[in-house]
Amino acid sequence: MSNQTTLLLSPSPHMHSGKTTQLAMWGVCASLLPVLGTAVYLFGTYVLILTLVTCIGAVLAEAASLALRKRPWTGEVSSLVTGLILALTLPPHAPLWVGFVGGVIAIVLGKQVYGGTGANPFNPAAVGRVFLLVSFPAQLTMWTAPFDGVSTATPLGGAEASLWTLTVGTHGGSMGETSAIAILCGAVILFAMRLIDWQAPVGTVLGTALIALLVGEDPVYHVLTGGLLFGAVYMATDWVTSPVTKRGRFIFGLGIGVLTMVIRVWGSYPEGVSFAILLMNALTPLINRAELSLREKRRKAYVRATS
């Protein structure tokens, strides 16, 4: 009855959806292509160089941190995603060193100090951007007009912009944030690949519009200007730093929208999406706790009611 064959043992299930974090990160990169392409079209090829340098900074920082922490390099593409997203929030003609420093800070202070992928409470790209904004305000507000590169102001900074201009993106601003159409293309790609659900972005837009209406400003204008759409689609949907339930994500998005408007209307900065995202990141554990406790309560209430 004996046989000598060695059989492989592994736990069930013996099947997987195949949708790994790794693949998801490549999906996010793909969804950023329309945004990056539009930025290159509007602001020139320097955008590509700046993006490349920012990504190099992020990936190098990831590799160096993992080496220092004596952790294996698992082929993570998430640092590349962080670099891409961060780069797209920078002004189109920011110095290259700004991009590099931002990439390094985003990975080191935004992620690795907490223990790496999955352990960070704050969105790394938002950490990088806020670090740059408070450290190098001049370089972070060097706005240039599309096509000719002449210095300009952003719509949030007082420049006139028509609805059409805001939609296609032919106005001053960070390189990835100006074109609503490009960002919506990216959102559709992410949604089609089921990498994000609608709750956080829609919540963000609704929260913004709601406060705009309350304070008597144009909600469409506030949704289309600044980094709001970009942040809603690419930063508020980060798996690690947003809540784990759908309703939680909606609340999280609403909070980002509301806080953005509070900063825009009453704060000293013209723009506040990154700050709002970081603040809501800080509240994410609380939202998770409330949501999951509620889920548990429902499960148990049912047991008591029927047994």
């Binding site: 009855m1 004996s2 069930s12 997987h16 999955g118 429902r298 047994s307």
Partner: protein
């Protein structure tokens, strides 16, 4: 017309019913069969044969009047070579009767009755118990116990959903053993006193549904449910078809339902119509390493090695008992096929799915797919941190190990393995005396 009553959580699995169209054939019984006395949830019945006895096909090897002690029967005629302790498919030890097949296939005299209406409910339960029938969907719960509900039953729900990808034994039973199945269904309706009978099928089995709509007319209604795994689990199925929720720790009878698998209905039909006990079952044998995959009648007690030899699988690499979602990888091929075995898979290197786990990224997909309403992500944390009271409080024990969470986990975390070991720890803690010290 019956509609679906309640949405349930879960996940759409890729359909992989590769042998659904392969008709039933028989794997000849091997030279030696090894029949465990314990093949069901409950207690093994006492053996009623001894070493050296000659037994006929269909002779009982164990007997008991207790409904939780289901007898087992000889699947071949021949000599009892030994009655010894051995490893059961569950991994536990148990008594195994080794019969050497004399190749004569001499059958015990049996008799049945032509119509289920010739039986009283009590007679049905007795015959089902003595015929060794247990749930053949996988759980192997004694069927006669389910047919003796303590509460008023209004619906008999026949489970024809094979949630596991690949497995198609139920599908073949529906198409090829329709008469026996309908006989069994009618008998079970008599035994439970259910007013209404529903056969539930998944939406990827339109042939079965069409066939039954014609054949089962006047006997049962046919309901098609979306194949969102794990709808085939009986709790989820009741929720999907009838909109009723069973209390956690409760039974389907608590909400007026008895659920029986289609192959169980066939076995009940065979016991009552022909008087023939459960000595073989249908098994889907598949996987890339199998040369002749298909749906086979296999004599209980046939070892996996003998099954694989018949279907052609010279160098198995990984062998599963069951389907790819809940099937267990076996350490050797000496394990016998029992009543609860629904499939055997020999995976090719391309099919073997061993993954390197990465840290949790809190995507929340495990929470979204859990049909038991659990939060797998939190349970994992509690188990890893050794917070056992929390794990218990958050429902670790109610996990049915369906594997939907691990299937979707983008970080490849072996959640089911964590939950199994966590449950074992909880059980050990609940019974401190059994551990000594």
């Amino acid at each position: 017309m019956l509609g679906l009553r309640k949405r349930h959580a879960g996940v759409r699995l890729p359909s992989a019913k590769t042998v659904a169209d392969v008709a039933l054939t028989e794997i000849p019984a091997p030279q030696n069969v090894y029949i465990p006395l314990q093949q069901h949830i409950g207690i093994a019945a006492e053996p009623c044969v001894k070493r050296g006895d000659r037994v006929l096909m269909g002779d009982p090897l164990s007997m008991s009047d207790h409904p939780m002690q289901v007898p087992v029967h000889a699947s071949v005629s021949g000599k009892v070579r030994s009655i010894t302790e051995g490893v059961l498919p569950s991994g536990r030890l148990g008594t195994i009767v080794h019969i050497e097949n004399d190749g004569l296939y001499e059958r015990r005299e049996t008799s049945g009755r032509p119509s289920p209406h010739d039986y009283t409910p009590e007679e049905i339960r007795k015959a089902v118990h003595e015929g060794g029938v247990v749930g053949l969907g996988g759980a192997a719960f004694p069927t006669s116990v389910k047919l003796n509900p303590k509460k008023k039953i209004d619906t008999l729900l026949i489970n024809g959903c094979e949630g596991e990808p690949v497995l198609s034994a139920d599908h073949r039973a529906i198409l090829e053993l329709t008469d026996l199945m309908l006989y069994g269904i009618q008998a079970m309706q008599i035994a439970t006193g259910a007013e209404r009978v529903i056969i539930a099928l998944e939406d990827h089995d339109p042939d079965g549904a069409e066939h039954l709509r014609k054949e089962a007319k006047g006997i049962a209604e046919v309901v098609v449910v979306p194949a969102v795994y794990p709808v085939s689990g009986e709790y989820t199925l009741i929720k999907a078809v009838l909109g009723r929720r069973i209390p956690i720790g409760g039974l389907p009878a608590d909400v007026g339902v008895v659920v029986q698998n289609v192959e169980t209905a066939v076995a009940v039909g065979r016991v009552l119509r022909d008087g023939w006990p459960l000595t073989r079952r249908i098994i889907t044998v598949a996987g890339g390493d199998v040369e002749r995959p298909g749906n086979y009648y296999v004599a209980l007690g046939t070892t996996i090695a003998d099954v694989l030899e018949h279907v052609g699988c010279p160098t198995p690499r990984q062998v599963l008992l069951g389907g790819p979602m809940m099937g267990q990888a076996v350490p050797n091929l000496d394990i016998p096929v029992v009543k609860g075995t629904s499939g055997i898979m020999a995976l090719s290197p391309a099919e073997i799915d061993v993954r390197e786990p990465l840290p949790c990224v809190r995507c929340g997909q495990c929470i979204a797919v859990c049909d038991k309403g659990l939060s797998p992500m939190m349970l994992l944390k509690y188990i890893q941190n050794g917070e056992w009271e929390k794990a218990e409080e958050w429902g670790l024990r109610t996990c049915m190990e369906c594997g939907a969470c691990a299937f979707v986990c983008p970080s490849n975390i072996p959640l089911v393995q964590w939950f199994k070991s966590g449950k074992a720890t909880l059980s050990a803690k609940a019974a401190p005396n059994s551990k000594g010290s």
